[in-house]
């Protein structure tokens, strides 16, 4: 019964009659309450100019054309735009460009995305014979790899820790099976830089390192001329681009406007084994054994490369409490210029334009009002937390999280919170351990 669509001519009449006392009720009932546009019965778009806008505070109708009013609609449109990025499929690639991203923390870094942009540039140069970009990962590929520009994904086995020989052997297998035209790696210290050089030595290729620009050149063997940094960054080397490329960050624009297929590719030959030839000396030990990361004294870490900085300014009175907090949190200590000038902190701990430019991921500013020189120094920091008495200061405006209050009290509360959390963790671990021993005892019984 409910499937039969029934019209109520009376309600339709009320909906048309704006002067009817039940007009708004009926409109809401029919689901056209706020709509100023609807599709008419003949397929024409009907507009109600009177339903546009809203009543302002003095009974004057205001029309906001900035789009805020249709927040819902705008959001929906944006979401659909993200989905509706044009999808690019390359079914029969003329050649393969392989990219081996670093993927620090399992995500594509900005450097990796730049490299994928460069790979697309190389693959799409000739519209008649387009290549495919294949991303080689150790472990599962990240989800957004299709939006970063990958046509193919070669997911090799996960390699944990520092095992360059294992990674190298896997890449050699990819090289044998697919023989890509270009190999691109990020020229970053321990990741792609190391792996790419090992690979170049193994394959006997002469790579380009520190590449930052490519130009099309039909006379070059691979069709590209490149510019690379040499001699510790003091020289530019112009040379034909070889197969194996280690590129700097910002070598190309990352992909943002298209989506790609990211089809998985498998190694048919299977994964090879590492062979470590015996070395002279007769010692029976693995070539390289990873003993894991070492806890580092945060006070010894250079301020410019510290990951987590607790910084003190003029608002700090309780210096013992501050040092204690830095110790408990495991943060590197920093200071504003005032604290250094007043002699509370050494000069090499000064953060800001006249001190050190820091790149911390998390920067906690305690009692720092945020002079412009200081804010310049912390510009690359990702998360800034401010503890301050003054809610109107510049540091609070810059901060992602600002706590207005007495620095000493908040710091001591934070120390207590961290210590209690650590105590709980220790307790749960020991209870876990006792539980497992209980279980083992029961199993044994």
């Amino acid at each position: 019964m409910s499937e039969i669509l029934r019209r109520d001519p009376r309600k339709e009449w009320i909906a048309r009659n704006r002067l009817h006392p039940k007009h708004l009720e009926v409109l809401a009932e029919l689901g056209r309450g706020a709509a100023s546009e609807w599709m008419g019965p003949q397929g024409l778009v009907r507009k109600n100019p009177h339903a546009v806008g809203f009543m302002g505070p003095h009974g004057i109708r205001r029309i906001d054309r900035s789009g805020v009013q249709q927040g819902q609609g705008a959001g929906g449109a944006r979401a659909s735009a993200a989905v509706s990025k044009p999808r690019v499929e390359i079914d029969e690639p003329a050649f393969l460009v392989t990219v081996v991203p670093d993927m620090g923390g399992g995500r594509l870094s900005g450097h990796d995305r730049d490299l994928l942009g460069l790979a697309r540039q190389l693959a799409d140069a000739d519209p008649d014979a387009r290549g495919a970009v294949a991303v080689v990962t150790f472990g599962a590929a990240p989800e957004d790899v299709d939006e970063a520009g990958a046509d193919r994904v070669i997911a090799l086995e996960a390699v944990e820790g520092f095992a360059p020989e294992r990674r190298l052997v896997l890449l050699e297998a990819v090289e044998r099976e697919f023989a890509p035209r270009h190999w691109l790696l990020p020229d970053s210290g321990l990741g792609g830089g190391d792996l790419g050089r090992r690979m170049a030595a193994r394959l006997g290729e002469r790579p380009v390192t520190g590449l930052w620009q490519v130009i099309e050149d039909p006379e070059a063997p691979l069709g590209w001329q490149c510019t690379a940094r040499g001699a510790a960054g003091s020289k530019d080397i112009l040379r034909p681009m070889p197969r194996l490329v280690m590129a700097l960050a910002e070598c190309a624009e990352p992909i943002s406007e298209t989506r790609h297929a990211a089809t998985p590719l498998m190694l048919e030959a299977g994964l090879p084994e590492v062979s470590e030839p015996a070395l002279p000396g007769g010692v029976d030990a693995p070539w390289i054994e990873d003993l894991g990361q070492v806890p580092v004294d945060p006070a010894g870490v250079a301020l410019s490369e510290a990951e987590f900085i607790l910084s003190a300014g003029n608002g700090v009175r309780d210096w013992d409490g501050f040092h204690e907090a830095a110790k408990v949190l495991g943060a590197t200590e920093g200071a504003s210029r005032v604290a250094v000038d007043d002699g509370y902190m050494p000069r090499d701990r000064q953060v800001g334009a006249t001190g050190t430019w820091v790149t911390a991921r998390v920067y906690v500013a305690v009692g720092i009002s945020g002079a412009i020189q200081h804010l310049q120094g912390i510009q690359p920091c990702e998360k800034v937390i401010s503890i301050n008495m003054d809610a109107g200061c510049d540091m609070v405006k810059r901060a992602d999280l600002a706590v207005i209050g007495d620095a000493a009290a908040v710091l001591s509360a934070l120390v207590a919170r961290v210590q209690s959390a650590r105590g709980q963790e220790g307790a749960t671990e020991s209870s876990d351990a006792s539980a497992t021993t209980d279980k083992e005892a029961r199993n044994a019984a």
Binding site: D194, I385, L414, V418
Partner: protein, 274 residues
């Protein structure tokens, strides 16, 4: 957190004498452009000097003239009597000569800087030598903690001041990161008295390098902030937006405990608390 990293302990190892080769090159002062000790190579020599019971041999492969002699004497001034020189004309591939020499000598440990300050500076030399000799290679060292029983325990420098401990079987090649301890000052007297012993070796010309164009490094163009907006409103917002600020959470009128809880939560989410 107790500081786990200390200066390498001086402990008597069971191997009588560790045969170490430190590869040194001619550096370039970044401002004046004059020849000097290459920074990373000098740090490598410093690491070699910090090893107990090690006999270190300085080896340089390359051209030998007044400018490079001045720079090489800088290494001699760190406390060496002599330096072995594999003389090569400018623009030759030194990896071939060095590989042959190392095969002859068979040292236990080869220490080199990560990359040279002159020439191509690709950082490939250590990799080529390791491939040729078939030895393990560890890159980016900050310290050598211990060498015993034919195994070296080393600390590798990770980004953000972190360290990783590795065990490497000897013979091995290691390269030195700028996180390694700074080189000691070069003393004038030993630098003058030291000798450069030249060995005659075949030179292998680097054909590719001579065909490339080298020019002073150009400043890289700054990446522009490209606004890809679908509507005029988005474009206007992007153009009129303030550079930073806004969007932060401000907690006023809270007790210290509530504030601490919020900070703790953020620190935990960012994963900086250990």
């Amino acid at each position: 957190m107790p500081p786990d990293i200390q200066a390498p302990k001086r402990r008597a190892s069971t191997t009588p004498v560790l045969d170490v080769v430190a590869l040194v090159s001619v550096g370039r002062h970044p401002v004046t452009g004059r020849g000097r000790r290459a920074d990373l190579d000098a740090r490598g020599v410093e690491l070699a000097l910090s090893l107990p019971e090690a006999q270190t041999r300085l080896v340089h492969a390359g051209r030998y003239d007044a400018d490079s002699e001045q720079a090489l004497r800088g290494y001699l001034g760190m406390g060496f009597k002599d330096l072995t020189l594999l003389e090569q004309p400018a623009g030759s591939d030194v990896s071939v000569a060095l590989g042959e020499a190392l095969e002859d000598w068979g040292p236990q440990l080869v220490i080199a800087g990560e990359r040279a300050e002159q020439g191509e500076g690709s950082g490939m030399l250590a990799y080529l030598l390791a491939e040729r000799l078939g030895w393990p290679l560890v890159q980016g060292l900050a310290a050598i903690e211990e060498v015993s029983q034919g195994v070296a325990t080393v600390l590798q420098a990770l980004p953000r001041g972190q360290r990783r401990r590795l065990k490497v079987r000897l013979p091995a090649i290691v390269t030195v990161d700028s996180a390694a301890p700074a080189a000691r000052q070069s003393a004038f007297g030993p630098a003058r008295r030291g000798e450069c012993q030249s060995l005659t070796v075949d030179a292998c010309k680097d054909e590719a390098l001579s065909s490339w164009t080298m020019q002073p490094a150009r400043k890289r163009p700054k990446r522009l902030k490209i606004v890809k907006a679908a509507s005029a409103r988005d474009r206007f917002k992007a153009a009129a937006a303030k550079a930073e600020g806004g969007g932060g959470q401000v907690l006023s009128d809270v007790t210290p405990d509530e504030g601490a809880e919020a900070i703790y939560k953020l620190l935990k989410d960012e994963g900086v608390l250990r």
